[in-house]
Amino acid sequence: MSQEALIFDLGRTGRYARAQAPAERADLADIPAQFRRRQRAVMPEVSELQVVRHYTRLSQKNFSIDTNFYPLGSCTMKYNPRACNSLAMLPGLLDRHPHAPDSTGQGFMACMWELQEMLAEVTGMESVSLAPMAGAQGEFAGVAMIRAYHDARGDDARTEIIVPDAAHGTNPATAVMCGYQVREIPTDAEGDVDMQALREAVGPQTAGIMLTNPSTIGVFERRIQEIATVVHEAGGLLYYDGANLNAILGKARPGDMGFDVIHINLHKTFSTPHGGGGPGAGALGVGERLLAYMPIPQVGKTGERFHWRTDKEIPETIGRLSAFGGNAGVLLRAYVYARMLGRDGMIRVAEFATLNANYLMSRLRDEGFQVWLPQRRASHEFIVSLKPEAKELGVTAGDFAKRLLDYGYHAPTAYFPLLVPECLLIEPTETETRDDLDGFVQAMVAIRDEARQDRDFVKGAPYNMPVRRLDEVKAAKELDLKWQGEAD
């Protein structure tokens, strides 16, 4: 595949897509000169066809669910139904101004309200807020509510959030943003939270704990009820990081496990697209203890009418997380998806995500790969450690990852969680066929064979991508973050 010039390098002075702007320039003379821009902004100068062609060609340089198996652990890269997109983009929905009166948006708000209800049911929580714009913002809101709870009780000794060592980076980062210190606790040999360490960690300084269940190690935390008791008895609250909810959707509910607040990555479990980095939506589920602190706004229902609940109805709210009501378009996609799945569909999501993960795990184990925690059930994902291959053959998890790209498979998550050496976190999701899983196993086996034959060949991968392996050190050292006018 040929290299694609930068859009700037395709330009010629004075060119632009003429159909897209008013036919004439307007008079701005009434704006005093001191406020006016003196020099024209550096911007591409290209035609409409050039834009279409450039970005169409660039798109072809991406792996995506729509083109490749994408078993990126913890990311739930499953099929994003196309109807979710087209129905969320109906003109009547796209064109609605966020400040338009509720009376004009009852159809939209009905969707939001029903989505809140469905999410509350499937998570076992009391109430749901759709305000957070991603998982991390859901975490922020949840921990901020925990803080508001302790503050309201005048309990200002609680300065710590407990986080297992397997946790995603957003968990400790969030705790800090909420003004807490982070206390890390280890995972035991079976993959569960080390109960001894937990008991030692809790105390009057404990504001709460953040847990992912199933954990990022790909197993279900079996003593979750005990954990809840320990933390609650110490006066702390429990935050559930719902990034892995796909594994237990309809099979078990965080609310029943004793969590006080949770977020759901709708862009994972409810299959809204990742869009090359976002947008997502991190709906919050809230238990009894924290209801008073819900972020605003939230959709409420009175009789058959829907309205936005604000601080008038939730006076102790932690406040607002975005200028408007969250990522509405993402939420509409999640709503359409949830309705198409329905009750049985939701349960089956967890069942088949789990079936695929356990099948793939057993196949890889049978082929001689070192599965982490082989004695455990995989949840919707599992870990292979390539430590033996790294030691014996000198090829790392990173090398396998790059070489998998050549085989047409997106790499699993590599080197996360941090506690497993040379790990690949593999999440096939429920929407992939058995044949695709088998193909992935074949590729893993083939790469190992290649490594046995020619280590350096594998270490030189990828070969079939638009570029070979990139120099990341140079990227970070000789920062080149924008086009500076030179030809490429």
Binding site: E4, R25, R147, G277, G319, G326, G329, V336, M340, V467
Partner: protein
């Protein structure tokens, strides 16, 4: 199981491969009392045809007439090419470009986006987006506190001409870190800041001053003088700007003698549909010296093994997945697809096109407000330079009036009384390039009728 491909035969063989009898057996590590809640409250699944019918009906209920509402979200023309291409599966269904070699499409696009945004703002560097304009301001405040090594106070001056919703969000997000947001009061008759007002903080330890341009009332602030005051006093300047306006107004990088330190704002005007408030995207640019304090993803240009140009995420040591509790922010998923759309929007319009759009927004707003202030009971609340929003003063409360006009299919504007009782009769109106003469006729007529009735 609408999206699950397994046949009965697949299931049988896969279970046999795993060595269990049933799918349920795979859940045997979940304590029995937690298992299989049943979900009686979730309705049965529907087909795509059925949900299409529901959504079509609901979308139709929402269709609206002319829109004079702005207040942070603006109805602009969005070229058809933008979303036809942004929703291509390769953009739409890809993850964050962690595997650079398999994500060159998204990565090059983000590099181009960063270049365009830096160009529009006249700033050194841009990140790859934050959630929205309001949260971008909150992150800017956090960043300013980190970046301003000389300041120990964590004290931020926030004028009351900054969008009150942005102020709310900032309070929510920075509130737990001991950062103090201090209000600067604007001139009640001009709806803008007087530089003189800032004198009271002369010589004090202030981490940053926030300047919104155009401000919440649509008025243009004296950004030059305000910036100079702040930087003289050791405070950083955080610009919150409308990106369309920057095509014609002095961009943050050129404010005062040295330019703003951080520029942020709402990216929605750049090709993102109104969509009831989201998803939009927050943009953020800064001085090169501060790039390691910036939150969010950043893409850099580099070379591959063979010396060919390529693009990759860089400076990841700022981010939560590497730095965990020491990260610049907890942000992970951002608003990638919106940036994809905005990049195409900017590429289509270019500087010339964006200037035309901005020019027509201004001209239409001028025309609209001239027409409306001819009505009895309507006057201009704030005189002075503006971009595409202005505040009208009516002879009665605007909140009920707006409801009334909405029921006639006209979104009349934003009732400012929602945030300040003293502005109960004030209406913030906006006319973008999408507004036609006929739209203005309809507004004028509807408002005229409404005002003709006793208040």
């Amino acid at each position: 199981m609408p999206f699950i491909p397994h046949t009965d035969e697949d299931i049988r063989q896969m279970l046999a491969g795993i060595g269990v009898d049933s799918i349920n057996a795979l859940f045997d590590e979940i304590p029995a009392d937690l298992r299989d809640p049943g979900l009686p409250g979730i309705p049965a699944g529907v087909t795509e045809m059925e949900i299409s019918r529901v959504m079509n009906a609901r979308a139709t209920g929402d269709i609206l007439g002319p829109c004079f509402l702005g207040a942070g979200a603006y109805r602009h023309h969005v070229p058809a090419a933008v979303w036809e291409i942004a929703t291509r599966g390769e953009y739409y269904s890809a993850y964050t470009p962690y595997q650079a070699e398999a994500s060159q499409g998204t990565l090059q696009l983000i590099y181009e986006y960063q270049s365009m945004m830096a160009g529009l703002m006249s700033m050194d560097v841009s990140n790859a987006s934050l959630y929205d304009g309001a949260s971008a301001l909150a992150e800017s405040v956090l960043m300013a506190v980190r970046a301003n090594r000389k300041s120990k106070s964590g004290r931020i001056l926030v004028p009351d001409t900054v969008n009150p919703l942005y102020r709310d969000v900032t309070r929510t997000i920075v509130g737990n870190q001991g950062i103090e947001l201090e209000t600067v009061t604007s001139n009640a008759s001009t709806g803008a800041l007087d530089v003189a007002t800032l004198k009271q903080w002369d010589g004090e330890d202030v981490a940053a001053l926030v300047i919104q341009q155009p401000n919440w009332f649509g008025r243009l602030e004296e950004a030059q003088a305000l910036t100079d005051w702040a930087q003289r006093n050791g405070a950083l300047v955080i610009a919150v700007v409308n990106p369309t306006a920057m095509a014609v107004l002095t961009p943050p990088g050129e404010w005062g003698a040295n330019g703003a330190d951080i520029a942020c704002g709402e990216g929605q005007p750049l090709g993102i549909p109104l969509s009831s408030g989201g998803p939009y995207f927050g943009f953020m640019c800064c001085r090169r010296a501060f790039v390691r304090q910036m939150p969010g993803r950043i893409v850099g240009r580099t070379v591959d093994l063979e010396g060919r140009t390529g693009y990759t995420l860089t400076l990841q040591a700022r981010e939560q997945h590497i730095r965990r509790s020491k990260a610049t922010s907890n942000i992970c998923t951002n608003q990638g697809l919106m940036v994809t759309a905005a990049t195409m929007y900017l590429a289509l319009l270019g500087a010339e096109g964006l200037e035309r759009v901005a020019g027509h927004c201004h001209a239409n707003t001028r025309q609209l407000t001239e027409r409306l202030t001819d009505l009895k009971g309507v006057s201009l609340r704030f005189e002075g330079p503006y971009f595409h929003e202005r505040v009208l003063e009516l002879d009665r409360p605007t909140e009920p009036l707006c409801q009334q006009l909405a029921s006639q299919g006209v979104l009349a504007g934003y009732p400012l009384g929602r945030h300040d009782k003293r502005l109960s009769n004030a209406l913030l109106v906006c006319a973008t390039e999408t507004v036609t003469e006929a739209d203005m006729d309809r507004f004028e007529e509807a408002l005229g009728h409404a005002l003709a009735r006793a208040a």
